[in-house]
Amino acid sequence: MSRADVLVDVDWAEAHLDDPKIVFVEVDEDVSAFDGGHLKNAVRLDWTKELQQPAVRDVIDQDDFGTLMSAKGISNDDTVVLYGGNNNWFAAYAYWYFKLYGHEDVKLLDGGRKKWELDGRELVKDVPERPATQYAAKSPDLSIRAFRDEVVASIGGKNLVDVRSPDEFSGKIKAPAHLPQEQSQKSGHVPTAINIPWSKAAADDGTFRSDDELGKLYGEQGFDDSRSTIAYCRIGERSSHTWFVLHELLGKTDVKNYDGSWVEYGSLVGVPIQNDTSQKAV
């Protein structure tokens, strides 16, 4: 696995928009973004309605993922190129999701929607008609998904990488600053976690930094290559971005995304939490 296998740039994407075996998939939390214009021939995945179970907080199961892909007209042997807004947070989450269910050839568009827009590249409103397929999802690859008990058991053992902003890590704020701060969770972080914000891995335009820069970044922040790793954020999107960097770009082994993340961990009764602020948020 190398960078070229998992990441494409905007020039490559523009040259492959009409390739029938390449499916561009936009994933945003803001579905109106797609309606306002998207890459030619791209289809949309709605993370709130399609990538989450309606009642239970969890990913959809293997059969439902297969049904979803079939309805989208995506085949097992298609190359899926994911992109989205928010510096590819949700696209990276979808990337992790495709890997969870064993899709072979998945790539991220470097810089996502932002890079594409800032370049002034073409966005269209036409939605392609893709005939339904018979997609067979594989059983979930739990080697890339962490659950809460494993996180608690990993305190002081694995690399716990908290990829939220320093102010969320310390406990100063509870959520990214474009969101209201009224949250039920306790604030702070998992003890022994190291804070390497996802944003350090990307330039302002949303493109990933070079492998050399990335390797140096994690090394300097105390990432221990001899240990297994769990990445987390607030709800698992930003940590998917870092999971992509560590596992897909840098090729580190045994890296999991804890998609329960702080919304789950900060709500658990009795687990250890470290809060670095003098005035503890309630």
């Binding site: 949700f90 800032l118 704020i173 600053a177 474009h178 969101l179 701060q181 302002d204």
Partner: protein, 99 residues
Amino acid sequence: MCGAPDQDTLPALEVSAGEAVVHGTVVRGGQPLAGAYVRLLGESGDFTAEVQSSATGYFRFYAAAGDWTLRTLYRGGSVDTAITAAQGEATSVQVDVPE
């Protein structure tokens, strides 16, 4: 939700005692600039949040009291704006983007 809400459909602004809101408008040549990427950077320059300005150029962050930098990206460049947020208040700023 971890991502940026659509700035066109934000609820009416209510600032609770524990919050410090930073909001404003991106303007180019006296006209609102839609679709600019506005990033909120913390005191050490760390990324905290990013939204796209609405059709009326509007953006809003729920920050904390203290000094922040707004970095606004648009086609052709970016501009930084320093701002200080206060607890329980909404601090307003206009970001002027060069024509």
